[in-house]
Amino acid sequence: MSDIRIIKKRYIFMASVFIGLALLLVLLPERHTLKELKAERLLQEVNDNTRYFTTDDVAEKIIANDAYMQLIDVRTPEDYKNFHLKGAINIPIDSILNKDEDGNYTYEGILNQDLKANVFYSNGTIYSNQVWLLLRRLKYKNNYVMEGGLNKWIETIIKPTKPSATASQKELDRYDFRRAASMYFGGASVTVSAEEDVPAPTPVIKKSASKEEEGGC
């Protein structure tokens, strides 16, 4: 039959190679490759800054009611209660890796998905970066960090500083946006309780000149 003749010998050979290789993959014993992200890769990702959302990005998305961003406050529940960004949920850093009775990570459904971009924030960026790092090690995707945290939020969005008169149009536009955003978010009425990034100022003990030094050499 001519219909059969069209399938030439080499096609049959190629087809059997493909099927053979695919079959081999099915039959090979399962190999457990490292579940966690390799250290070099992690280092590479830590060093590039693509995980950051600027405070302007976040403000814009909150105002636009962007459903593709989920803000996650990684501070303590008390801090969250005192102040949090609109739409943010609270997953404190110490419970991020909590497991349920079956031994699965409780928050995996939120923290490892493709639909929404999770943006972590804390007062600075230390905690939010730690959360990001923990989750990235687990190969969780779609997680980001708000650059500068709430401190920067206050500095740029709530109390923006006016650029100098010689500033570029871009900077002036950004200032206009920030001022409008500031009004949207209720102006300068917010205060952040703890400043995690800035080490608590060590009280300077002034030596009084009149007193004699006790002891010492």
């Binding site: 001519s2 219909d3 069209i6 399938i7 096609y11 087809a15 493909f18 099927i19 290789l21 695919a22 079959l23 993959l25 099915v26 090979l28 190999r31 490759t33 992200l37 390799k38 890769r41 590479q44 590039d48 693509t50 593709y68 998905q113 493709d114 639909l115 190969k139 995707k141």
Partner: protein, 195 residues
Amino acid sequence: MGPLFNANDEWSFVIALVIGIAFGFILESAGFSSSRKLAGVFYGYDFVVLQVFFTAAITAAIGLLFFEYFGWIDLSAIWINKFYVGSAILGGGLMGLGFIIGGFCPGTSACASAIGKIDAMLFLGGFIIGVIIFDLFYPLYKPFYKASSMGASMIYDVLGMNKYVFLLLFVIVAILSFVGTAYIQQRVSKKTKKY
């Protein structure tokens, strides 16, 4: 081993250029710069396009899964586009329509322009105008464009299958399609005049 380079590397444009040239060369070698050949799939007289792309897909799939098995590549590091159901269906339909009206798809039009085909150059011009129009009116259809996203989903996950079993079935389907299209091609070629 892989990925071989970081996407943020400044070399990525150079690498993209090299890969692009290789891709164009292979398209041209497979005869894809001819709109008659491309339209052949639609009219049923030439299925080379389907055969080449299906072969490329199964070769790449088998290769990647073996690479992963031996630990040479980290599949989770590979970027996968998100699947937006609505826009994929509409976009697929529009793309098919453009393909059969114009006789090229974006890649092959660039390929055919490179060997001096005037119709392909016009197609490429239209393609660029289309991109600009799409960009200008993007806010209008963004809600639809971004709607019903299924994320970077894998078909074997959606079906709840083992990926290796799925690959085997996929290879079998590919081979059956080669046999089937070869049969159709012969029947059609007998009946109609070949261009």
